[in-house]
């Protein structure tokens, strides 16, 4: 399954054929030679002789390239600088080249993040194997995300504990930690986060607190303007070095993009086309919201769509899942319907909402999720949260409302779900956006969403039924769909919740956070546009989506996104390489 990026579709040949390489060298003779060599390896080559031009190409076509090969000495920009930019903005593997093989220079290259340093004259056999860097990065991404999620989940645990029922919390936690354990990653594992540039210094342990500071700083600066130095200054952690921050930022991006990819994968599973960048933009934060937003124009609110849905969905769901719904009363739901003016939920509320979601997530068919929503206000909050970023109150609640009655219909359900999802999501984002603690709630929800995500795939069909859903970003629907499909109409709601939970996350990804774009810069991801917009709602996994922090990436509950994609992860990775 290969998600179309729109720029260059991956070749259908077996990997590594079709690897999209960008070669940057001011020497036109070398450019010609390298192009020919790479073509002989069946790679897709783009050449340019100026660093600035290269950056433009990379920015224009997010996810349009898998790897960059650049010369060290260039007239308009130092190769190392380009290397840094690429690493920060797009997080692609970069190979440096030079005729100068001095240890000093090679070391500098490695310090700046180059994944390899080739000496000219370059042999073709050296180029044949560059795919390993792309592959390695993908694998590490998974690990990084997991470790980040570990941190996140810890965080959530902390903040969520007060609000959440232990049972719930643990549930969510377990999924995350379980995953981590499974992969052998310790939540606090700082191996991946260690300062790569200093081989002798002690590894940096990115504790939850530290990460929170990091996320806060990133949010403050603005995701698209972020840079390790700025983050470092804002964080005000004396012992932290720029390299530490740079590497962590890369991981963070990976995480976000990973979630995005997962969402994309889900989307593809569901059969829904990955939302295009435009939708991403709108979703900025809520991947979910895409799906949910079907109604909504993703562009603006991605997440907002949730809100609409929320109100509708909630109502609907409540009915269906009475049993599980803890306190969801149709009453409030009904109210929510009309009130999309979601107020910004208080963080605590969001948390509770999340908790409930967790519950619901736990039981797919339990209305519990709804219960989470039960606090309509919470749900609303989520919406609010998102609105901050981008919530547009406008979403299409109307559509959903109509649907709510039709809840039984799968299609509707999707819509509803999406809507729900959004709300849930928004909830998380809400709190997270405003407070870091909120994120924790987000986490709770997430894990569930992940589970549901898998389900989404099944639902895809129902979504089709729903005309509106289509409007939503494909992505958005995906999550919803999957979950709903597996569940009955009633169940669907819970799914929605999960979805919504997811969505908020996604929403946040794009939302507010400064410009979450980075997550997607990954080649595979459908890089979101800078700023919130990019976030595909579909990507529930997007950490950014997690409302918690605009920075989301890590704050957002990582829950299960990882889990859900477990099976798909690698699949996606492979496919995604050439996405």
């Amino acid at each position: 399954m290969v998600v179309e990026t729109g720029f260059s579709s991956p070749r259908t040949d077996a990997f590594p054929a079709g690897l999209r390489v960008l070669v940057v060298d001011d020497d036109s003779t070398w450019l010609k030679i390298l192009e020919k060599m790479l073509k002989k390896c069946f790679y897709e080559v783009t050449t340019c002789c100026l660093a600035r031009e290269a950056l433009n190409l990379l920015r224009e076509r997010k996810n349009g390239y898998d790897i960059v090969i650049s010369d060290v000495n260039m007239p308009d920009m130092d190769g190392f600088k380009l290397l840094e930019h690429v690493g920060l903005e797009m997080d692609l593997p970069v190979i440096m080249m030079s005729v100068d093989g001095e240890t000093r220079r090679v070391m500098k290259g490695v310090q700046h993040g180059a994944c390899d340093y080739l000496l000219k004259p370059i042999r073709m056999k050296e180029l044949r194997n560059i795919w390993q860097h792309v592959f390695r990065k993908k694998i590490h991404e998974v690990r990084d995300i997991e470790s980040l999620e570990g941190i996140e989940s810890i965080h959530i645990t902390r903040s969520g504990s007060e609000l959440f029922d232990d049972g719930h919390f643990l549930g969510g936690e377990d999924t995350t930690s379980g995953r981590k354990r499974k992969d052998g990653d310790n939540k606090h594992d700082d191996k991946d986060l260690g300062d790569p540039s200093s081989t002798k210094k002690a590894r940096v342990v990115w504790t939850v607190d530290l990460h929170q500071k990091f996320v806060k700083a990133v949010n403050q600066i603005g995701f698209d303007k972020v840079g390790p130095k700025k983050i470092l200054d804002l964080m005000n952690v004396p012992w932290l070095t720029r390299e530490n921050v740079a590497s962590h930022l890369q991981k963070y991006r990976l995480y976000l993009s990973r979630l995005q990819k997962e969402r994309d994968i889900k989307n593809s599973f569901i059969g829904i086309k990955h939302s295009d960048p435009s939708s991403k933009d709108s979703n900025s934060g809520a991947g979910l919201h895409n799906s949910m937003n079907v109604i909504q124009d993703n562009v603006s609110n991605g997440s907002f769509s949730f809100s609409v849905n929320n109100s509708c969905v909630l109502n609907v769901d409540l009915k269906g899942h009475e049993g599980d719904v803890k306190g969801i009363s149709s009453g409030p739901m009904a109210e929510s319907k009309g009130t999309f003016s979601i107020d910004i939920p208080d963080p605590p509320r969001a948390k509770s909402l999340q908790i409930s979601f967790d519950h619901s997530l736990g039981s797919v068919d339990s209305v519990v999720n709804l219960a989470s929503f039960s606090s309509t206000d919470t749900v609303q909050y989520s919406w609010n949260e998102i609105p901050e970023i981008q919530f547009k109150q406008e979403y299409e609640p109307l559509q959903l409302e109509n649907r709510t009655n039709q809840l039984p219909q799968p299609g509707l359900q999707h819509n509803l779900l999406t809507k729900y999802l959004q709300p849930t999501v928004s909830v998380s984002p809400g709190p997270s956006v405003t407070e870091k603690t909120a994120t924790s709630s987000g986490f709770e929800v997430k894990p569930m969403c992940d589970k549901y995500r898998n389900n989404h795939i099944k639902l895809s069909s129902p979504t089709e039924a729903v005309g509106e859903s289509h409007t939503l970003n494909d992505q958005v629907f995906e999550p919803i769909c999957t979950t709903t499909s597996s569940m009955k109409s009633q169940d669907i709601i819970p799914n929605h919740l999960t979805e919504s939970e997811l969505s908020p996350r996604n929403l946040y990804d794009g939302v507010g956070v400064e410009n979450l774009q980075l997550c997607w810069l990954q080649g595979d991801c459908y890089a979101m546009d800078s700023g919130l917009q990019g976030f595909d709602c579909t990507e529930y996994n997007n950490p950014t989506m997690i409302p918690e922090m605009p920075v989301h990436l890590y704050d957002a509950p990582r829950f299960d996104h990882e889990h859900l994609f477990d099976p798909m992860e690698y699949y996606v990775i492979d496919q995604g390489l050439f996405a």
Binding site: D27, I33, K36, K40, K120, P121
Partner: protein, 150 residues
């Protein structure tokens, strides 16, 4: 042994270029890249090299006329030139470039000037030889395989 006299001549020329150290392994890499899609790949690359590097030679020449020498600048130019020369496997030219850079680093202006003159000679010789080589190559027709120098 090639039956075709032109091909034979070509092979002799080629061997001599390698034996006399004008070309190195990189040139063979270029030959291996030549295929049906790019039947004149090697000649195209060599032509491109001489066109671009002529500009660099001129820059260095001009820089050497300004006293005192700006060694950093000179080193920069030569670094570029060396990189370029490595692309076609211009062995001797590359060796002179390395020497030139050494003199730059040690601030030896005299050494730079001497080396540069030598470099220009090697550069001119290589150019002539390769031009002749490709002339014969065009007449001889496509080569079947790239032969590695003994």
């Amino acid at each position: 042994m090639e039956r075709n006299p032109m091909r034979r001549q070509l092979q002799v020329m080629r061997k001599s270029l390698f034996d006399q150290g004008y070309l190195d392994e990189q040139f063979v890499q270029l030959e291996e890249l030549q295929d049906d899609a790019n039947p004149n790949f090697v000649e195209e690359v060599v032509t491109l090299y001489f066109r671009d590097s002529a500009r660099l030679i001129l820059n260095i020449e001009q820089a050497l006329e300004r006293k005192p020498f700006d060694f950093n600048k000179l080193d920069g130019y030569m670094h570029q030139f060396k990189g370029s020369s490595s692309s076609i496997g211009a062995k001797r030219v590359k060796a002179e470039s390395t020497l030139f850079r050494e003199y730059c680093k040690s601030g030896n202006g005299e050494g730079c000037m001497r080396t540069f003159q030598q470099l220009k000679k090697e550069y001119a010789t290589l150019r002539k030889k390769l031009e002749a080589y490709f002339q014969v190559a065009r007449q001889a027709g496509p080569m079947e395989t790239a032969c590695r120098p003994k």
